[in-house]
Amino acid sequence: MTNVRPYGDTTGDGMVQVSFTLPVPPGPRADGAAMQLAAKMGLEPAMVVHSHGIGTEFTFFVVYGSARHIVDLDEVTVVEREYPLLSPAEVNGAVRKLLRRKLVVVGGCIGTDAHTVGIDAILNIKGFAGEKGLEYYRELRVLNLGAQVTVPELVKRARAEKADAVLVSQVVTQRDAHILNTQEMSAAFREAMGERRPVLVAGGPRFDPLMAAELGVDRVFGRGTTPGEVASYLVHAIREGRAA
């Protein structure tokens, strides 16, 4: 089956649940406004099953309805993992073969972001989801710069350490901070080092892996990433010279 619709309790019923707030005082008019939005979202039929005022100027709604849209699975774009998942031993072996030296990874949270737990999960020995972090890999040399690293500082360190890969984390997304910061970072590396720039990797829970090009980085990792995935990717990237 390549065409599917949301499933409530019967194949094809299309049922979805939606909630939102409109800046409209509560009442029948507000419910009508919610119905209009539901219709524009392609819910047909839709039911406003709940609404209540938040203060006097806003109304919160819960809507259930049947989405008319069809999801075409053939058209789904995902970043497929085009490289094999390697064990730490395999990663070490591959690095030894490819570089004949340790692969240098520099990582940190850039901008004013101080959420280090995510990057630590990838880098620190302790790791994530039962997998050890990159520090555990004998053939990787890992430098975790921690939080609130400025872009110039990052570029400087990467250059000084001769980094093969730079890993940045961005967790705060309000006002698209994560996008702007990452773009600033990739631009700085391009400017400073041109083609000789290290592999650039961005990660964080609200990134969509499809955004790599937009961000100017080689790869983007989203929520639930494990260290093994990242290590395997690094081997792949180094092997391919550098990924798109």
């Binding site: 499933y7 406003v48 259930y64």
Partner: protein, 524 residues
Amino acid sequence: MALLGLDPEVVAAARALAARAAEPVVEIARAHTTVAVERATLRLAGITGADTGHRAGDVPWVNRVVDTVREHCGLEHGVVLPAFHALREHDLATLTELAEATAAGQVRYTVPTGRDAQRAARAGRVAVAKGLRTIDRNRAQREKLVARLGDPPRRPWIYLIVATGDIDEDVVQAANAARAGADVIAVIRSTGQSLLDYVPEGATHHGFAGTYATQENFRIMRAAMDEVSREVGRYVRVTNYASGLCMPEIAVLGGLQRLDMMLNDSMYGILFRDINPIRTFVDQRFSRQVHARAGIIINTGEDNYLTTADAVEAAHTVTVSQLLNEHFAHEAGLPDELLGLGHAFEINPSLPESFRLELAHALLARELFPDAPLKWMPPTKHMTGNVFDGYLLDGFFNLAGVLTGQSILLVGMMTEAVVTPFLSDRDLALRNVRYVLDAAAGLREDFRPAPDGFIVKRAHQVLGEAVDLLGRIVRDGLLDAIADGTFGLMKRPPDGGKGADGVVEKAPGYVNPAADLLDEGATR
């Protein structure tokens, strides 16, 4: 450990009053039969299938036979004598052939007498006993499967509803639910079925807000759940409704298809389906005898009262009804272990201390019926379209279940006020249950209602009101109480309601081998 300090004498007095209140009704139940009881008897004797050639749609063969017998010679003597007499007279091999001949107008039923009667009775007993032995085998089989696969790892058992209207979709949803942790799967019935005076046939796909209860649907679901049971390594129970105008027949079908629980209440049909009270009490007694034989846990329907009456004001009516249901069940041979008495978390959540009131009510039920597998029903009435509010309320319902040691937990759905549950509603609901049951697993040990505190006082008050009400019922009669709107605010006079014409007073020579075998606990 008793936390409420209920006075054993008050409890005993309540039980004695309930017995006295129920007694006249039991008498009536013994003195009557119904078309449904007779059809159930023939089903035990082996009739299956339907007259598919009839212009009004499929008519089950049992209905054909019982209706014709009644027309020809009345049902005062039961259907078995005329039917088995006719079988012999027409030299037919099976009851199905008899039904076909009946439909073709070839049979004239009479009540046999003398040796003919004895012969018919004996043949009937042999046939019915065979049916009962199937039920016995199913019971043994259940015990074997439970022994092999195991019971759910902990209490309360997780009870989940499927209600797509299509048995095939039901199976998909039930299997997923069981994999996700459901211990009991209930297939909700289509809205119209309880008022049908026959049981539909075959696999069905077009119920409204539920799926028809049919023997074939029972079989399909039980088979599917047997498979899932093996997969998940615990015996997944299946339940349905022995309720409505065909209560006794469905009880038989449940026994024949190894259902494990059935909704079966002594008053639900009267109150919420406007079924004639006498009809209900007669049907109920027979169906419970069958359940007792089949080892099926009944689930009573006190929760429903709190959807029409207020859960605080009417709390004592739940207690009264539980005591009545208990008595009727004991009288029909059901032991405590099969008494899934019902109650529910239906107090208006905006009431101050509503959660503590719920705890008081739930604990009262627990301590009044320590050995019964109480069935704890989730909030429905005060669920709204605000699914977030609802999800939280269900969490507190689950917590009340853990804190008060409920036995069977019907899982609440956040979409209660919106739709029959989506696949995801059920899954989210199970996550909710799992969180609460894991996170607060042993919290019961830290729950000690303050002596003379709010909870204890409330429980005593409800019990007191229940005793008072039972006193009034003993004085005025249970039928009058029902007529007065005592339960769920529904007023149902004894001579009103659907299915009244299906009630028949037994004649002195009434014969029903099923009743005999059940009374005797005999297998031949």
